[in-house]
């Protein structure tokens, strides 16, 4: 694979695990001069939290970018309805056109140790582009 890596899609649900994945992606994107698109899946229950719930996530994303000095102009934010796995799989298509997927090892509220519902493991089975799973406890060094 010799094509330059231009767009990194990162699953973001506001969890500490997702924040680690975002930090790791920012670090890689700076090295490669790539764009980072944070992808947020709006599930069934999030509809109960009100229409502005994704915007609250965007604020924390901007805070993360500022903390590590990542240029916001190279940062995209994509909110769409669906489960996290399906939404991230579709990130390879336009308008995102990702050529790398990055996720944390464990999403918001999901049972620790559960193989069944692990977005990262499901993506590992189904992704058609390279996937990075950032383990908990690792920083973006």
């Amino acid at each position: 694979m010799n094509q330059p890596l231009r767009t990194i899609a990162v699953g973001f649900d506001g969890s500490p695990s997702a924040e680690l994945a975002v930090r790791w992606s920012f670090a890689l994107a700076r090295q490669l001069d790539a764009r980072v698109v944070l992808v947020h899946a709006v599930g069934l229950l999030q509809r109960l939290e009100g229409a502005d719930a994704p915007e609250r996530f965007l604020e924390s994303v901007h805070r993360l970018a500022d903390e590590v000095g990542f240029d916001r102009r190279r940062l995209g934010w994509h909110v769409t309805d669906g489960d996290a796995c399906s939404v991230l799989l579709r990130a390879t298509d336009e308008p995102i056109g990702a050529d790398l997927l990055v996720v944390g090892s464990r999403g918001q509220g999901v049972h620790a140790g559960l193989m069944l519902g692990s977005t990262s493991l499901q993506l590992a089975e189904r992704a058609t582009i390279p996937l990075v799973i950032v383990p908990a406890g690792r920083d973006a060094d």
């Binding site: 899946a41 599930g43 489960d83 999901v110 049972h111 559960l114 519902g117």
Partner: protein
Amino acid sequence: MLIMNGPVDDAGHEDPGHPERPDRLRAVVSGVEDLHLGDDLTLVEPYTATRAELTRVHEGSYLDELGAFCYEGGGNIDEDTYATYDSWSLAQYAAGAGLAVVEEMRRHDGAVGFIATRPPGHHALRDRAMGFCLLNNIAVTAAALTGEGERVLILDWDVHHGNGTQSIFWNDPNVLYVSTHQWPLYPGSGGAREIGGPDALGLTVNLPLPAGATGDVVRQALDQVASPVVDQFDPTWVLVSAGYDAHRLDPLAELALSGGDFAALAAMAAGFAPRPGRLAFFLEGGYDLSALRGSVAATLGAVVGSDFRPEEPTTGGLGVDEVHRAQSERGVALRIALGSDPGEDFL
């Protein structure tokens, strides 16, 4: 006559604060009681779907994993979906209920079936739980029927697209899947250009509607786009994924239907059936308890001859343009897939 699955204690499938909760079934049962059917209501014994019946639509490895997960106490499967220790057995009851109801329907001329179970099913994929759903209940019954040589129409009027059901029967020429749903909305699938796999081109009919669409628009979508396909498919059974979260009071979505609209939709579903005795409704979503109770009563009252008077049907909402667009996009997708004019009937 109404044939309905008998009750099982579903209290064990609950996550405090979650909208998919045992109170839903109590509301549904109250809705049935509001019809005062007396001897015209028959309850069938609870039936647990066998592994052979489940593996027609689910991967065996997924069933093993789900069963083991529940046995270990359960937890959150994804952001929306939970399971408990009791969920595996309750999901097997939910998946088996349609089989038992259909078997009983065959002993009574002209009976209507109603499968009131939880957890719901239409988001469940072959190998994955999602969207509150563990096993795809309606798919288990549809697959059993097609195994007997039947042609099954699945009409899904839940406010969310039934991605699991669509996926399971995507390339099955013996199942016609028709869905009306709000779009954009979870699960993100259900575009009009999704028309079925190579062996079943045209046998997936998606009718995405905008927030604010009323019942007249849903009926127009079915009349204008789905009816010609149903006529050509000529189903021998009609199964309905009867979700009630398209009701205007539902907290999870923004369609604007009333109980009276579900009565009208039920009458349309009965019209799609080849003859009495070939129509069964499967409970899917619906999270406002009063809307759920009234809408269930309206649905069943419309097809069993009850004098139940539901809310008035709704009119004048958004979505007429989207119906025309869906018809056009579906036609384009069919032309591309077939490489020729598919003919009026398929459009």
